[in-house]
């Protein structure tokens, strides 16, 4: 969604073509991100002509301020929905930065890893908006990600297993 998409496209801006093909996963209710992504990829294709990407949509796992109990149910549903997608794409790397959408995708990849079907490296970058506290996605994925990146020093102190590279967006 919105700010998350802008941030993640900035993160992608300096990556080489080794990180290809790129598979974008969006919430079904997200109206604006697709245009931003296509625009980014179009620009990229001017430099890297063989550049490839795909776009998939999954049901939104949680509305803002949705209650705890219903969130667990909708998230479980989203994980089940994500499993075939993650299985199909078998990504080497999942890069995410906090929208609710990323939790089921990451958890489905984590599950495929446990089942020895595909080992995916999960890299989570907490949004630059998070200076002192983690988002809910962050709090969950802190335990499931291989690398958890924060952009402010306070968070590095509170979450010692995180990686601090300064501001990267």
């Amino acid at each position: 969604t919105g700010g998350h998409t802008t941030e993640i496209l900035r993160l992608l801006s300096c990556l080489s073509e080794s990180y290809s093909p790129r598979h974008y996963v969006l919430a079904d209710s997200d109206k604006m991100s697709e245009a931003k992504i296509r625009s980014f990829e179009q620009k990229r294709a001017k430099t890297y002509s063989k550049s490839q990407f795909t776009l998939d949509r999954i049901p939104r796992s949680r509305e803002v301020r949705q209650s705890w109990i219903s969130s667990v149910v909708t998230t479980l549903y989203s994980i089940l929905y994500s499993l075939p997608l993650t299985y199909k794409r078998k990504p080497d790397l999942i890069l995410c930065n906090g929208p609710g959408t990323c939790v089921p995708v990451c958890l489905s990849a984590f599950l495929l890893g446990l089942l020895r079907i595909k080992r995916t490296i999960i890299v989570y970058v907490e949004s630059i908006c998070r200076v002192e506290t983690l988002s809910l996605s962050g709090k969950i994925l802190y335990y499931f990600s291989d690398y958890f990146i924060v952009q402010w020093p306070d968070l590095k102190k509170k979450y010692p297993k995180s990686v601090y590279l300064g501001r990267i967006v």
Binding site: G3, R10, S16, S18, Y19, D92, I128, E132, R167, I168
Partner: protein, 104 residues
């Protein structure tokens, strides 16, 4: 004016921006090098939105007020005291990932 696709043009021609504490608004404004006054809505109190605004204020990059003292702030502000906002460095992220995958 309700919902434009992009405020980039308006930002470019502005001399001063007064905005809510949304991260997108703050960052876009600061990156264009425009002075920014962030107005906090006491009644909304979405704490997570405030984190970035508070930090930017601590770093001296924005002015900070609420609805009731906006006029005062405008009258007494010293925009030259605002510090520039250094851009983020996505290349550090790329470098980090390359190391993870042994691409460096």
């Amino acid at each position: 004016f309700r919902f434009k696709d992009s405020l980039a043009e308006d930002l470019q021609s502005a001399d001063l921006v007064i905005s809510h504490a949304g991260a997108g608004s703050c960052l876009e404004t600061l990156e264009k090098g425009k002075p920014l006054i962030v107005v906090i809505n006491d009644k909304l109190m979405d704490n997570h939105q405030l984190e970035l605004a508070k930090q930017l204020h601590r770093d001296g990059c924005v002015l900070y007020c609420n609805c009731s003292n906006l006029v005062e702030t405008l009258q007494s502000m010293d925009l030259s005291a605002l510090k520039p906002f250094p851009p983020g460095q996505p290349e550090k992220f790329a470098s980090f990932l390359d190391k993870v995958f042994g691409l460096q």
